[in-house]
């Protein structure tokens, strides 16, 4: 990673008092969170608790109703900020993969390199092949998404996001739509990414992954951060009754 060194202690991403309403539904009720470069933030909690909405507020796919999102020291909730530019440095992988079905795997990866980053075709191809190797799918470059398994599609989606060389990766329940035997291959890719020092925010139901890979963990319930800390400590000694109940259901 060729990321410029952050000033000491300056977070790569910081959320400040994030609220989100969908109509009358108050989904996020004041979220404060900061993440330094190289850290992995795992986000757990019951469904409907606002985890995905929180993640989607980070790259502004959902605009926060109130509060600010700081990325690389800039307030990206400012209306004057060019979000297209910000998003090139902030990758996201979705639960449903969301590959473009009319493009081959390699084309899925190169399209944004060519059209957004304006990289020439040859270099874009090389970058894409590099990422395909990274996720172990270089032999599937010319396959259409419909010809791939769910696990392979999701790895292509990871490669597509990584090819932009982002500084922050967001993962939104990326293994929830996969058959159990395909979960491992996607988690392995994410684990490797964390070891390489990628800054990541990961919404997940994979508690083993959360415990081993997470630098920090937050438990989001009812639109607030109900508990936060180091994953191992939280698993060992959940402080709140709600987290204890949650663990008893998922572990």
């Amino acid at each position: 990673m060729s990321a410029p060194v952050q000033p000491n202690g300056e977070p790569l991403v910081r959320l400040e008092g994030i609220h989100k309403w969908f109509g009358d539904n108050h989904v996020l009720r004041g979220i404060d969170l900061a993440l330094e470069p190289g850290e992995v933030q795992v986000i757990v909690g019951p469904s409907g608790g606002g985890k995905s909405t929180l993640l989607r507020c980070v790259n502004m796919l959902e605009e926060p109703s109130a509060g600010r999102v700081w990325f690389e020291g800039n307030d990206i909730t400012d209306i004057r900020v060019n979000l297209n530019d910000v998003r090139t440095r902030m990758g996201i992988v979705f639960q449903a993969f969301n590959l473009f079905p009319h493009m081959t795997a390699i084309h899925n990866i190169t399209v944004a390199l060519k059209k957004v980053l304006k990289i020439d075709a040859k270099e874009a191809h090389e970058r894409a092949m590099e990422q395909l190797q990274h996720v172990g799918l270089e032999q599937k470059a010319d396959a259409y998404p419909g010809q791939l398994s769910g696990g392979q599609q999701q790895r292509i989606a990871v490669a597509r996001a990584l090819a932009m060389r982002p500084r922050l990766m967001l993962f939104d329940e990326v293994t929830s739509a996969l058959d159990p035997e395909l979960v491992g291959e996607v988690l392995a890719v994410m684990r490797q990414l964390a070891e390489e020092g990628m800054t990541m925010m990961v919404v997940t139901h994979e508690m083993g992954f959360a415990r081993e890979v997470g630098s920090w963990m937050i438990f989001v319930d009812g639109g607030v951060i109900a508990e936060h800390g180091r994953p191992r400590e939280m698993f060992a000694n959940p402080e709140t009754e709600r987290l204890r109940q949650f663990f008893s259901k998922v572990l």
């Binding site: 944004a112 998404p145 010809q147 597509r160």
Partner: protein, 375 residues
């Protein structure tokens, strides 16, 4: 999968009486299989049904061909001949027999192919009965007057060139208008999908106006307004292409709008999250998928447009500009015989049928890149 298919000697049997011939890869092997699996009664029903329809359609056509299509009196003679009548009645009786026998026995057939054979015989029989009924009703009228006015083919001689030219003009009008309509429609659909009401409003007004007024009115008002009113020096042909295109644009816009809305929102989000602008996301991710989905309705629109070019007949085209309908009408006026309208219909079919085949082919080709989207 294809390597699992046998070459069709029928060694694979999936349970007594329920064998599925799907594993047979050649048409010939499937036919052989079908015959082998028939029960005597189902074979008889299928053959009677097929023969009844064959007698009726091909037999009657052969009789007409032997008697001759010109002069029209020979057609009348064939229609009124005893041979034609007995042929019809024989076909009718055979058809009824196939229906009764098929319906009575299909449930008791021992194999699936035999059951399908009996059902096919009965269905063919029904078709024979319906067509024979219509034919007998038709022959009960005054076929002499009918033939003199509607199938007097000798009046067409010498007009072939005009019909070919008419078909050419019909195609030019429809194609130019459709190209204009697609460009306009795509733009309008994007405006109509805007989240800003000030952008949506003009598109909605235009689309609703086009869809809410008759094309005939648009053509006439446009033509008289532009040429006679504003005194602009344009030909009716050019005005026709413009107005047909503006009209097609309104309908095409709605087709594109529905197509774009049918693409999951997550596709737009995926593109946006890669840093693409709204228009880049539309251009590379959403619209290519939408276009594949709207090919069938777009095709339908085009076939309607081909037929709508007939309304241009009202604008007063020069000899060389005439499309099929005008040609037919003018020859009718010249000969005082309605047979040219048959040639007009044939002309439209010659233009539209290959179009329909082509788009079906195109559709399968484009679909091939769109198999299952996971999740």
């Amino acid at each position: 999968m294809s390597d699992q298919r046998g070459e069709g000697t029928g060694t694979l049997v999936l349970g007594e009486g329920r064998a599925d011939p799907g594993y047979l890869s050649t048409r010939r092997a499937r036919a052989a299989y079908w015959f082998r699996e028939q029960a005597p009664i189902s074979l008889v029903v299928a053959i009677i049904g097929a023969v009844s329809l064959f007698l009726e359609l091909v037999g009657s056509s052969i009789l007409l061909a032997i008697g001759g299509l010109t002069p029209y009196e020979s057609i009348v003679e064939t229609w009124q001949s005893g041979t034609q009548k007995s042929l019809l009645w024989i076909a009718l009786v055979m058809g009824i027999a196939a229906v009764i026998a098929g319906v009575a026995t299909y449930r008791r057939m021992p194999t699936k192919a035999a059951r399908e054979g009996a059902i096919a015989g009965a269905v063919l029989g029904i078709q024979t009965v319906v067509l024979a009924g219509i034919y007998i009703w038709f022959l009960g009228g005054d076929v002499e007057i009918f033939a003199r006015n509607f199938v007097k083919f000798d009046v067409l001689s010498g007009f072939t060139g005009q019909f070919v030219n008419g078909a050419k003009n019909t195609l030019i009008l429809a194609l130019s208008a459709q190209v204009l309509g697609i460009a306009l429609g795509l733009m309008l659909s994007l405006l109509a999908l805007s989240k800003r009401s000030v952008t949506r409003a003009p598109a909605r007004v235009y689309i609703n106006f086009i869809r809410g007024t008759p094309l005939l009115w648009q053509l006439q008002f446009g033509f008289y307004g532009i040429v006679l009113g504003l005194q602009f020096n344009v030909s009716p042909y050019q005005v026709a292409i413009l107005i047909l295109g503006l009209n097609a644009g309104g309908y095409t816009a709605e087709i594109f709008r529905a197509g774009i809305q049918s693409i999951e929102r997550s596709q737009l989000e995926a593109a946006r999250s890669l840093g693409m602008s709204y228009f880049q996301s539309m251009r590379y991710a959403v619209i290519p998928q939408a276009v594949r989905r709207v090919i069938p309705p777009l095709m339908n629109e085009f076939v309607i447009l081909i037929k709508d070019t007939s309304l241009v007949a009202l604008l007063g085209l020069t000899l060389n500009e005439r499309e099929l309908m005008t040609v037919g009408r003018d020859i009718y006026a010249e000969t005082f015989n309605a047979t040219p309208f048959l040639a007009t219909a044939a002309g439209y079919l010659i233009v539209t049928l290959p179009m329909i085949r082509f788009v079906t082919w195109l559709e399968t080709k484009l679909r091939s890149g769109l198999v299952g989207v996971g999740a």
